[in-house]
């Protein structure tokens, strides 16, 4: 059984393919730990309520709101943050398609898009729509973001 008392404890996380020891309380969210202990500030703190997607990371390959995960819940699970997608095809497409304005929402979108492409390389418009509804962009660059994802689908565009 995994247990953790009150107060600080050192636990091992698996982030971007590396094992990292962090000092946490049970109450710490993964978002807090990534930003404050590991310096991985790509996951953004915004609503902290599961509404905006700015804090999205991949846990076991699935997109999750890191503001709605306790760090202690993620022990023994592979975590992927935006820092590991440097120079990835999806990052390049976001640049090419101008799918970025202020950039605050971009890490969350890119991770969600990467997970979508991994899980549904044949995604149709409805699936893309459903997945992207999890992320808000205040600069409203949604169309360009959809184009960036679609350009990486094998057929170049969804049905």
């Amino acid at each position: 059984m995994i247990t953790n008392g009150t107060g600080k404890t050192v636990v091992r996380l698996h982030v971007n393919g590396e094992a990292s020891d962090v000092m946490i309380c049970s109450a710490d969210t993964l978002l807090q730990t990534l930003r404050e202990q590991l310096g991985l500030t790509g996951a953004k703190r915004a609503c902290e309520n599961g509404d905006c997607g700015a804090c999205t990371v991949l846990i076991n390959g699935e997109p999750m709101h890191s503001c709605l995960c306790l760090t202690i819940e993620t022990i023994n699970q592979p975590i992927t943050t935006i820092e590991s997608l440097r120079d990835s095809a999806i990052q390049q497409k976001f640049i090419e398609k101008w799918a970025i304005q202020c950039g605050f929402c971009t890490p969350g979108f890119i991770l969600n898009c990467q997970a979508l492409l991994n899980k549904h390389p044949d995604a149709d418009d409805e699936t893309i729509e459903e997945w992207l509804q999890s992320n808000l962009c205040r600069c409203t660059g949604y169309q360009e973001i959809k184009e960036a994802v679609k350009s990486l689908l094998p057929k170049g565009s969804a049905s």
């Binding site: 059984m1 995994i2 247990t3 953790n4 008392g5 009150t6 107060g7 309380c25 049970s26 109450a27 710490d28 969210t29 807090q32 902290e48 309520n49 599961g50 997607g53 999205t56 699935e62 997109p63 999750m64 709101h65 503001c67 709605l68 995960c69 306790l70 202690i72 819940e73 969600n112 459903e130 997945w131 509804q133 999890s134 992320n135």
Partner: protein, 279 residues
């Protein structure tokens, strides 16, 4: 940031979870079971909830089952809403929970957490109320399987020392003709103004609603009105509206009149869609 600290336990079996609760209870600790944890985290962050210890049920294999066993579909309390939809084992439930929150949140929100939620919506329970589902509970007095309708009246009425292990849905209900409709204020993602799950069993409509009153419900009187063959569709709906268990919600999301208007339209859509499946 959650403004208080707590002890965290992630047992690996039902027995270990029950034992852990008992030990903590003898220490007079305020203990909470959870599965997805999203509601625990959001309410705690806002100081609307506190606990000295939490027992995370995600480590228990029995709470992760999602499979046909004999005459039932077994759905573990810790199964995420997306897994239920992706499995396609119970399409009405899959489509209903697909409208809860957003795709990323549904990777973490569990069916157990949804039906035991403090929010008034609990949309995941709607299909279950239509299907003679049973729930398996665990607690100090052991494990027991009870009909959902015995423990669910407006909300799940179980004691703090009990937790939900899984839900059992009879196979006979899994592939009946159904509709699942949700109306929200603006975007596709949002709390329901009206949410309905309905199916046809033995040529009779069964329907359960959320968002209309302060709790999700299934009403025999509403179903009797919807199945009254002597009435026109419009008359059925008027009669059904007269059978609501309490006044329609009137809040910032939607006025009572607007909710009633949407409810009428939704009931009409439901009747028409289900009639179409019978021809």
């Amino acid at each position: 940031m959650i403004p208080f600290d707590f002890e965290y336990y992630r047992p690996e079996s039902v027995t270990e979870a029950v034992k852990t609760y008992e030990i903590l209870a003898t220490q007079d600790k305020k203990v909470l079971f959870y599965s997805g944890g999203t509601e625990f985290i959001t309410f705690s962050r806002l100081n609307q909830l506190d606990a000295e210890a939490i027992i995370d049920l995600k480590g228990i294999p029995d709470c992760h089952q999602l499979e046909l066993q004999g005459e039932h579909l077994v759905i573990g309390a810790a199964v995420s809403l997306n897994k239920i939809t992706e499995s396609q084992l119970f399409p009405l439930l899959g489509q209903t929970v697909r409208k809860v929150a957003d795709h990323t949140s549904r990777n973490k929100i569990t069916i157990g957490g949804n039906i035991l939620s403090r929010f008034i919506y609990r949309e995941g329970v709607l299909p279950l109320l239509l299907t003679e589902a049973k729930v398996k509970l665990a607690g100090s007095s052991g494990e027991r399987v009870v009909p959902l309708k015995v423990v669910f009246d407006k909300q799940m009425n179980i004691s703090p020392e009990q937790f939900l292990i899984h839900i059992q849905v009879p196979k006979a209900f899994l592939n009946l003709p159904f509709v699942s409709i949700k109306k929200t204020r603006m975007s596709k993602v949002g709390y329901p103004i009206v949410s309905i799950a309905a199916l046809v069993k033995d040529k009779k409509i069964r329907a359960a609603l959320s968002g209309v009153c302060e709790y999700p419900f299934r009403s025999p009187d509403i179903e009797a009105a919807l199945n009254d063959t002597s009435l026109s569709k419009e008359e059925k709906i008027d009669k059904a509206l007269g059978q609501l268990p309490e006044a329609i919600i009137d809040d910032l999301q939607a006025s009572r009149d607007y909710r009633e208007f949407l409810l009428k339209n939704t009931l009409l859509e439901t009747i028409e869609a289900l009639e179409a499946t019978q021809t």
